[in-house]
Every structure is written in C-alpha cells, then in structure tokens.
Amino acid sequence: MSLLEILRFAGRGVTTNKLRSALTMLGILIGVAAVILLVAVGNGSAQAVNRSIEALGTNTITVSSTARGATTPSALTVDIAQSLRDSALAPDVRAVSPVVSTAPTMTHAGTEHPVAQFLGTYPTYFGSSNSPLAAGAAFTDQDVAQSRRVVVLGRTVATELFADTDPVGQQVTVGGALFTVVGVLAEKSSASGFSDPDDLAVAPLTAVQQALTGYGPVNSILVEATGPDRVDAAQQQVTQILNQRLRLPAGTTATGRGGGGGAGAAPYRIQNAAQLLATRTETAQTFTVLLGTVAGISLLVGGIGITNIMLVTVTERTREIGIRKALGAPRRTILTQFLAEATMLSVLGGGLGVAAALIGSRFTIVGVQPVIVPSSVALALGVSVAIGLFFGSVPASRAAGLRPIDALRYE
C-alpha cells in the first residue's frame, strides 16, 4: 500500500470522526494560542515600560520629595534646585530642572481634557527628558523669568483638544488661566501599557506656580549628567549638596528603594534612569512570568483535554485496528496511518492556534500592544504537537502490536 494511500486513509479517519477531530484540534488551538498571546502581552508591556523609560533619557537623575507636608523645611525648593547647578561642587551636572506637577482640566473652545500631567519647569527639561518638539518651539528662559503663560502640549492633549487643527498659537484655559500654545511635543510611543507618556503639557515653572500651584516646594528635580558614564558621579555630588542644604548628617543615602522611613532616611528620593529601568523591568518580568504560568496551565488543560478525548476513543480505535489487522493490514501500515492522523490533527490545530494568536496580537489587549516572542511560538507548537502525537500514536502502536483477536476483544 503506497504512502499516498495511507495518508488518504488517515485523512478519511480524521473526517470520519468529526467531533473527536474538532475537539482535539480545539484543545490544541486554545493551548497554543493562549501561550503565544499571553507571553506576547507580557513581552509587549515590558517593551512599553522600557520605551517609556528610555524616552526619559538615560543620563538623568530624578530627585523627588518624600516629605508629606508640603511646607516642611526639608521639602525640595527652587532654591535647592538652583544650588545643584554648581560647577565647583557638582562638575558632572549639566542641567537642573525643578518640576512642579498638577493635573488640571484643560479646555479649548468647549472641548475639555483632564490632562494627566501638567508640568511647570525650565526649558532644560526638554533636553534632559529627551522630549523633542514636533511643531512650534519650546519656551525660553526669558519666558520663565517673565512668567509668560505659554505651554507646550503632548501629542495626546493636542489631539484631544484640537483634533486635526494646528494648536500652535491657539489659547487654552487651564484652571481659569489662559495659556498660549507655542509647541507640540513629538510622539513618545504609541502605547506604553500603564500610562500614556503623551498625555502631558509643559509650561514655564513660574507661570504654573503663579496660576496653579502657588510658590511652594517643587515635586521633583530633574538633573541631567554630562554623560551616561557620569551619572553615578553626578548622583553622589547631588546627594552631598542636598544633604548639606537640608542639614542631614553626612552619609545619609537616599537611593531608590531606601527612601521609605527609618532612622537616617532622607526626606527625598534620588533615582537614576538605570535604577528606574531595573525596578520597572523587574515588575514587567514578574508580569510576564505570571502570564506565562497562566498560559502554561491553559496548555496543560488543553493537553489533558486532548489526552482525554484520545483515551476515550482508544477502545473504539483498538477494535478498528483489530479489524484492519484481521483483514491483512501490516503493522507498519497501521502505525503510519494513525501517526499521520495524529500529525494532521495536531499540526492543523497548532497551525490554527498560531494563526489565532497572530490575529489576536494585532489588537491591543488591556491597553498593551502584544509583541510575539518567536520562542514561545516554537515552544507552544512543540509541546502541543508532541502531546497530540504521543497520545494519538501510543495507543495505536500498542494496539497494532496486539494479536487481532485481542484487539477485537479490547474493552
């Protein structure tokens, strides 16, 4: 009997038992699609986190206040920020931008938009935070000195308020004050997962203080080092100056995770982009592992489903194998047929699963644009095809080894 004929027999076997074939393929399909898609979601969110941190700039240091009360003497002020700009004590600091942050509602011609971050800062912020402008121009030091009410919009804010028209030169109302739009930031990333980095507006520090926040302490200070390799040195220099200014005992440290409570803890937190990246990447990895586990479980459940269907049909198929043997089918022909059947089912199911995952990955899922990990495709496909092949062919090979009469009597 030729191989082609055996394959035709296998095809007939698949189509004859439609329900069984469909269920088997469905089990494999779901397992494969779930693994690929969930891993892709985890990977997508990790990449989004990386992108948003890279967008922040890699040679920046963020000093943020941890003091609760806004007017406590230890809080960060514009004065303190300016003291960091010291070529003798802090030679590795290139730029310092104090930042006040609020979240008001912006309006233009009846359109409202609650902006996520409305920042008041210095023009150096644009360079330090790696935020180039797409249209118009940034405000200047002069604007800051004169508290001019001008504002640079993030992509999201611009689209929300102005739709397709050019916002530059238009006016927006923020908390009762009129601001003139002078520029629009370039888009940072399409979808970042947790928060939209384009949902912000940046205005001169003094203007924001005057119109919105008052002349209190600032929320954070963005420090730019002279180069990526000078970040650590700059961080040390900044820490020293801050400790001096805030009259903290020498040696007080306030790096990323230490900034909670406890004796000798500083009232501020200082983090560089690398640390930020590490923390967030860790979170994203945990997320991916979690999703991977869920996916693995669904693959397992799919596998158990397949196994169950295969085992239920063993009795019937063993009898069928007995009949075929009695009619003179050689063992090898039977094995080839059943192996081909199992291969068709699992490869077809796996292929459809990959297709389903590829289609699914084109949509954003819970705000994350999934990014397919090739190795997860190989793994999911490999495991499910292996399960399909194993449980499809092992009972068959056992039955093919039986005497025809024993296979016929199998119950």
Binding site: A326, P330, R331, P404
Partner: protein, 247 residues
C-alpha cells in the same frame, strides 16, 4: 489475478491430496488459576483443498476459538497448525498479515465492520491492503456487494444497516479478494431463510470454483449443504463424517 497464479504454482508442486489446513493436538486455554477455561482440548483435523466443511457444536464448545486460530487471528496454547504445509507459528507479523490478506477470507460471528464507514469502503479495505488501485477496488467491491444483494446499500454506514445486511456486507468483504480459503463463523446466524439461501448459494458457487470453505453453523439444514460435517463437544471433536451435500 496473482492469487490464482500462486495457487497454481502450489498445486503443481504438491501432491493432490496434500491438505490445505492441518492441525495436530491443538489446545487453547484461557485465563489462569480459578478462572481457567479449556476451550480446546486437543483437536486434530486435516482439510483438503477444495473441501467444504461444516462445524457444529453447542454454544461454548470451542468453535469460534478454533476458527480464530485457523484464521491466524489467535495462537494456540499448544499443538501445531500448518497452512499450505507451512507452520504458522514460524511466520512473523508481516508474513501473517500477508496470509490473512491474500489466502483467507474471514467472516466474523459479530460482523466487525468499521463504524461510520460506508459498506463499500468496508468491503474495499482488504483490497486496499492488497495494493489494488482505487478505481479497480471500487469496481470489485461494488461487484461483491451486488453478489450479496446489497448494491443499493453501498453508501450506507453499518449503523444504517440491519443485522442481516451487516452480515452480508461482512460476507462480501471476505469474498472480495477471492481467497482460496474461506472461514465463516456463523455466516447465516442473523439471516432470514431467503438471505440464508442467498449466502449459501454464494458458498456453493465458491465451492464449485474450487475454494476451500470452513463454516460454523447451528442449523442442521445449513450444515447439510457441506461435504463434511465436524462436530465439536467441550473442546474435542466427537464426530467427523463425509456427507453428500444437498446439491
């Protein structure tokens, strides 16, 4: 057809009275300990080419057990079985498959059709394993179904056929390869008198064409059609007589 050529070659080199089937001291024991069943207790039988043998005996006397061994579907616990002078226990799986496919047409007591597969596909199966081309296969399968009066039911699946119709599909499947040896385990067990007559007519034809036939039956008038009547009782042959045959 190759089958006849092989047959011819055999006949040319063998003594004319050389038996096709030859069994010596065959026993079959099922189970162990308390549950041991001696289905066959030493059966010796020799059947010549072209003979037409009926086997009778009460239920549980070991008829099916004997038939399964003759059909190379089962192996005896002890004793020898020679088919065309060849000791069957020496044959490997591939050769046994060849013997079952080319030499023997087996009709099961319980039909054993493949479920959810059309009658004609069931009948085609032995031809497929013999390597016959699909078109030729279909033609011969339809001819065999026509012979048992089921041409109109070719596309029906087993569960759409009556017991008697399934039985006749099973007979057609055994005949379709035109085997030299036909082993039928109660081929008329589920049939009415008219269908029984049809099936017996087919067996008569095959006998006339020189095939060797061994048939199990419970009915004396069916057994009367054979040339030789063997009676089994409790795993032993009690009588073995030649008879004229009804026609």
């Amino acid at each position: 057809m190759t089958l006849y050529l092989v047959d011819g070659a055999h006949r040319a080199t063998e003594a004319p009275d050389r038996p096709v089937l030859d069994i010596r001291g065959l026993t079959k024991v099922y189970g162990q300990g308390e549950a041991t069943v001696h289905a066959l207790r030493g059966v010796s039988l020799s059947i010549a080419a072209g003979d037409y043998v009926a086997i009778m005996g009460s239920s549980g006397s070991g008829k099916s057990t004997l038939m399964n061994i003759l059909g190379c579907l089962d192996v005896p616990s002890a004793g020898t079985y020679r088919l065309d002078g060849v000791d069957v226990s020496r044959l490997d799986d591939a050769r046994l498959a060849l013997v079952r496919n080319r030499r023997i047409g087996f009709v099961f007591q319980s039909f054993n059709l493949i479920p959810r597969t059309s009658a004609v596909a069931n009948v085609e199966l032995p031809l497929a394993y013999a390597g016959v081309k699909p078109a030729e296969r279909r033609r011969r399968a339809l001819a065999a179904l026509d012979m048992v009066g089921l041409a109109g039911r070719a596309d029906h699946e087993p569960n759409q056929l009556s017991g008697g119709q399934q039985q006749r599909v099973a007979v057609a499947r055994a005949l379709v390869t035109e085997p030299a040896l036909i082993l039928a385990d109660e081929p008329t067990g589920n049939l009415d008198s008219r269908s029984t007559e049809e099936v017996l007519a087919i067996l008569d034809q095959l006998h006339a064409a020189g095939r060797t036939i061994v048939m199990i039956t419970h009915e004396t008038d069916v057994a009367a059609r054979a040339r030789r009547l063997v009676t089994l009782f409790d795993g032993r042959i009690t009588t073995d007589v030649r008879q004229g045959g009804a026609r």
